[in-house]
Symmetry: C2
Subunit: 279 residues, 2 copies
Amino acid sequence: MTIDPRLSSLSLNQKTTNSWSLEEAVAGAERAGLSWIGLWREPVQQIGVDKAARLVSDAGLQVSSLCRGGFITAEEGPARRASIADNVRAIEESATLGTTCLVMVVGGLPEGSRDLAGARERVAEGIAELAPHAAAHGVRLALEPMNPIYCADRGVLSTLGQALDLAELFPTEQVGVVVDTFHVWWDPAVLPQIERAAGRIASFQVCDWITPLPADALLSRGMMGDGHIDFPVLRRAVEAAGYDGPTEVEIFNADVWASDPEAVVSLMSERYLSCVLDS
Amino acid sequence: MTIDPRLSSLSLNQKTTNSWSLEEAVAGAERAGLSWIGLWREPVQQIGVDKAARLVSDAGLQVSSLCRGGFITAEEGPARRASIADNVRAIEESATLGTTCLVMVVGGLPEGSRDLAGARERVAEGIAELAPHAAAHGVRLALEPMNPIYCADRGVLSTLGQALDLAELFPTEQVGVVVDTFHVWWDPAVLPQIERAAGRIASFQVCDWITPLPADALLSRGMMGDGHIDFPVLRRAVEAAGYDGPTEVEIFNADVWASDPEAVVSLMSERYLSCVLDS
């Protein structure tokens, strides 16, 4: 089988093939002709960060991003200190894995709190505290604005504009943003905000918005082409803003997870070429 | 039982007591000491618009809003013409019912389309076509920005700012906006946009954002106090913008609908006083 050379810009986020071990995901990405893989901390920690780094490197792959840091909305106290310390570890892990991109899912409202403005302020404070650690390790904190469906419980950064307002308080190489189509496609301001994000785009992630929305909101992402998102218009905007890194596919979806991972990677590659690259 | 006089600013949207007929909802609102009711076109048409108007009036109530016009994202053709004609009828029905507020749920992407910008343009064209009809009947088209969770299939107006960009193309009395807490609470720009909306706020609706999000996205609204929204901060902003109309409660939720409607109205009244008015 001839592998399309354009697949070298595609990254398999390991969550897309959730039933595969890290070893299997690395091997699967290599077989598919990809050059990149997106990793998650838990499976990396399970086999050890150094070993994971070697595994990826030995397969000729690079790590496009590490998921995830964040969850820094708690008020000052032991829980917040533990979270900051954990984020420092995540920064170190990113450096060991050779990726500059640590995806930051900043967290939702603390249990029982309705103070959204306060939670957002604490995110800014947390980033300010973590940025020097990131700089010291050559890692960039990649703020991920999340679809408002997750505002209460996952991420109080809700728009790309809001993420940029925060990122711009810091040097470009310390704090960037993630442009994930699932999270930003609906935003009337998404194109001008992508333009504004020039130099700040740390990751471009793609998956689709499907309807009816699956019952579990956390597993509601679809394979590209199965939903409503116009990928080329967003890809072109990201490219026009100067982003030339990989395009990462991260799909949380029970049906995708129940499928044969090899077939998922194959379909992902096909849809990347037909739905994301072509226009 | 003494009825708290502050309940005169509360409106029962009849969808909140979905198992009640229109007659039952009117009687229930009257018993609860409310002065307002929000109606839906289908039950109104079932008993006849004139009869519905008399029923409400005889109970000493006023209609706070009629739901709903909209669904004007189709491309030009018979379906679009039918939708425009139906919206003209909705305007006439609003006038007959004595309400100036026709809630506009503008519609999602047409079947099979991924052209979000095009759908949004057609909304603007549809409003331009309908505004003179609204003016002729003394009715205001109340643009409802919807939570992005509904962008694909219900409403491509996703933020209050976007709704105001459109509304401001028309005279204040012809096109306004709905501020519905469920739809706008997450928006980092919600407070300045409510301030900007002074004179344009046609309706203030409240219900809560609950987690975990119920399995059916269309039935995901919660009773005030059951979720994450800080109502007083939004209510005060709406009041500061000069809105002095009723606060309408519209809850789509399977558990609420399965409850005794009388108890729902009682709980709604209690929560309005404790969660929305008090702060």
